[in-house]
């Protein structure tokens, strides 16, 4: 594992290519949220060749459906949701220039192939550390699909958002490389 790397959004290609699976990162800048329902809508718009409600090129999407914010908090608890549910919609977004995704859990081969082709990175955040992660989210506003409630697309401003590079733009995958080191065959 390498030293902690500070990165800012939007991500340019040189930053993406510098990141390696296992790098601990702290992300600062604007990121967008999106989970199941929002992904389906974005995907449908791309298929219909219509404009998207948010810019995609160079951006990072965080797979999260936050809890409501208590008074005095920028957001409610906001940890990552499981990413594979977004897999069917993800290659289309990568083709549009999406550079980063933050979530937890496995990705499909189709997504990883598209990440390599389009030079994008998948970050893992620690699932279930929702209250703690929310501390790095300084501003939050609904920017598209308010009717979806927790599933709406929010624009977050994050400072030092903690994540780990899980699958890099070369296809190196921590979920594949790390468990065998601790596996005991019985």
């Amino acid at each position: 594992m390498s030293e902690e790397i500070k990165i800012t959004t939007p991500l340019d290609e040189s930053t993406v290519l510098r990141l390696k699976a296992g790098d601990m990162v702290k992300i600062t800048g604007y990121i967008y949220t999106g989970r199941d329902a929002a992904h389906k809508r974005l995907y449908d718009l791309i298929k219909e060749e219509k404009d998207l409600p948010i810019p995609i090129a160079g951006q990072v999407i965080y797979y999260v459906g936050p809890a409501p914010a208590k008074p005095g908090y920028a957001t409610g608890p906001a940890g990552p949701t499981t990413s594979y549910r977004m897999d069917p919609y993800t290659p289309a977004l990568l083709e549009k220039g999406l550079k980063g995704m933050i979530g937890k859990g496995l990705r499909s081969n189709e997504v990883i192939t598209s990440m390599k082709k389009n030079k994008a990175v998948y970050f893992a955040a620690i699932g279930g550390a929702a209250a703690l992660i929310a501390r790095s989210i300084k501003k939050s506003e609904v920017i598209a699909y308010p009717d979806l409630g927790a599933e709406a697309i929010y624009l977050y401003y994050v400072e030092d958002f903690p994540a780990i590079v899980c699958i890099d733009a070369y296809g190196n995958n921590l979920y594949e490389s790390e468990p065998p080191k601790y596996r005991i065959e019985s």
Partner: protein
Amino acid sequence: MRKIDAREITNKVKSLFLEANFHIGKDVLEALEQAIEQEKSKVGQDALKMIIENNRLASSEELAICQDTGLAVLFVEVGQEVCIINGDFTEAINEGVKVAYQEGYLRKSVVDDPVFDRKNTKTNTPAFIYTDIIPGEKIKITVMPKGFGSENMSALAMLTAAHGAKGIIDFIVDTVRKAGPNPCPPTIIGVGIGGTADKAMVIAKKAIARPIGKHNANPKYAQMEQEALARINQLGIGPAGLGGNITALAVHIDYLPTHIAGMPVAVNVCCHAARHAYGEI
């Protein structure tokens, strides 16, 4: 006959869901702390530290431990000498859930129709209530906000007697292996053996609420719990799935009589945020 006001049920359900969503159990916290000692992976240790810090922060500031505050699952034992007045049992529970999720700033995660509209009910209801009639004049309530990252990794196998204890453990371990990093390890694995297909899953879910460190009273099943846990922790998945030797904190097995022709085995997976609370009226 003891009369219990439906509003008392509402209030109890509300306070239990708030408690469960804000405050992780002492048993889970202790198991996580022990896991740091045992975990060999540095990244795994860091993930566990972050999880513990999150649990402490959520408790002290009364925030949801996880943004997925779950479907509202309840196991309710109703004394047969109880008479509920001034309202309807199910409505009273749903009202308690609705108020807890509103006042506690908890996420509403229920969609009304699973296939087509998938419209959010905006109240986190309906609750999913399992009721047992028991002797006495009390109502005993266990609430379990059940997150779906882990629920989605659950599995059922209709095994036969020939599979034996080894076949059951193989199925449990295989279910956890396939789940990989998805259910937010380290997990608590609830297992229900016997009964019918549906009943096996219900007792698997209820087994998750058993305090960590308490084994099945039957030593043969307690032995299976220990063997399954040891094998799960040899998979290498580790905390957050980033590699390590702590993939589960506990395996809880419960069992029931079953049919001569069958041996249902249900595995209900729970994330490290194993939230549940118990109260009596």
